[in-house]
Amino acid sequence: MPLRFSVTGGKCLLETWEGLNEFLREDTNKQFSIISLSNNCYANDTQLYTSHSSRMIRRELLTSLLDEGPPSSTQFPAHAADVGQLYTIVNFPGFSLPMHIYLLNMIWIHKGQARRRHPLGIQLQKMLLVLSEEHKEHLGFLSEVDSAVVGEFGRIAVEFLKKGSNPKIFEGAARKLNVPAESVQHGVEGLMYLLTESAKLMVSEGDFQDSVLVLGFSEELNQLLLQLYLENRKEIRQILGKLAPSLPHYHNLEWRLDVQVSSRALRQQLKPSVSLKLVLEDGESLRARVLQTDPSTLQHLIQELERALAELKSSHCRRVLRNIK
């Protein structure tokens, strides 16, 4: 299985390690934006990338590896422990990775989905967007128009997400650009889908950029899309949150103290009670329920609900909240 290195700054695809070697010899001054390792089957699965500051170290390691064989611990004292284990094979899901490639990227590969921060600042992400062929085609339209138009499309896409879509806008835009209305619609809808998917998965900046890279847009366009995503992410997540299934939500409670003094069945009573008006919010509508309780039950309710609140502060709960992120 050939391993593919895709280098984004230079936008080339290297099929073999020899190819990578060649590339590095030629372009030793060029800055990579990403060095990623992707396998045909798992292109969407994992992606390794370096942060800016560690890039230089990596390049050194890499060039020295390819030139002179494995680096020695004296050359890179900070990574002595790793250098020592150079011939260990580290397992990727689906294929094995020779140690020097691991060293190349200095990641700890875990079976779980945990994101780990390595001292050199590399992160193993699992959050790459999968763009279907159809989707890519639709978005391809965006590269044919200039960035002002793309900006406008982006604004429209966000408007549609907030307030619902309005097909008439497509026709107007299509006429102005002299393209079929369908392409405009696909373009805008493609953008909407891209934004909602990214917001849903909460992809980071870097991941978003990588995902968009697949489309082969210009750097300007990529930046534009990134800005669009980052500015609107929070709001889109709020909108998506409302779609999830849920029970009526607490809105408000009003109370009133009553004393029943008489009824048809019995005159001369003295029965204290508390009337409650519980207002619940279900989707968009508010619904009020009038309830009643007596003083002792009220005390019991207060005790029980306080116990519930205290539970959130217990150590078990805190541990769970801290560790699941």
Partner: protein, 192 residues
């Protein structure tokens, strides 16, 4: 205390020594109170000690007696009112006293019975809660929010139902805060 003619007539029958001798009267009074207060009791009709009385009359007397007693408890009538009423129905002093003593004995229970006949909004009896931590849902990943699910048990006329709703920690704090306000002012009102 106003009583209908039929009730008065029934009471007059109860008072009549020809219909109820003293022994039967005592048993009858006991049975009447029992039938009001205890959930299961011997029926007045077909009781061995009262077999000699005509059953229709007995039924009428039972109805009249129970109506009278409940009216008395409802109005919280004092001894003079009850005595004068019974004397109007030609009760002997002895029987008046007997009836009155039994009435006093059972008064609390009868009051409780009458006060429970009531229409009111659903009455909360209990609250159950559940704390959950949402990690993700089909529309949104990485939600990472704790939330509470509260279930209030309510009762209305014997039938119970539930009110379920969810809330965040802040909302639950708000709810508990308001309930505490109500409890505090209840305490203050009871003290002043």
């Amino acid at each position: 205390m106003e009583l209908s003619e039929s009730v008065m007539k029934g009471l007059q029958n109860v008072a009549d020594p020809n219909v109820f001798d003293l022994k039967s009267f005592t048993i009858f009074t006991e049975l009447v109170f029992d039938s009001l207060v205890s959930p299961q009791c011997e029926s007045v009709l077909g009781h061995p000690e009262l077999k000699h009385i005509d059953q229709t009359t007995l039924k009428h007397c039972h109805a009249a007696a129970t109506t009278f007693i409940l009216e008395g408890v409802k109005q919280n009538a004092d001894k003079s009112t009850i005595s004068s009423c019974l004397e109007d129905a030609r009760f002997q002093i002895e029987r008046v006293d007997l009836l009155y003593t039994s009435l006093q004995k059972n008064k609390t229970n009868l009051e409780y019975l009458l006060s429970s006949i009531d229409t009111c909004p659903p009455h909360i009896t209990d609250a159950a809660w559940r704390l959950e931590y949402c990690i993700k849902n089909s529309h949104l990943h990485k939600v990472n929010q704790p939330s509470y699910l509260i279930s209030l048990n309510t009762e209305r006329g014997g039938a119970s139902s539930e009110i379920n709703f969810s809330c965040t920690m802040e909302q639950l704090q708000d709810l508990v805060g308001k309930m505490k306000d109500a409890a505090k002012s209840l305490e203050r009102a009871s003290q002043s």
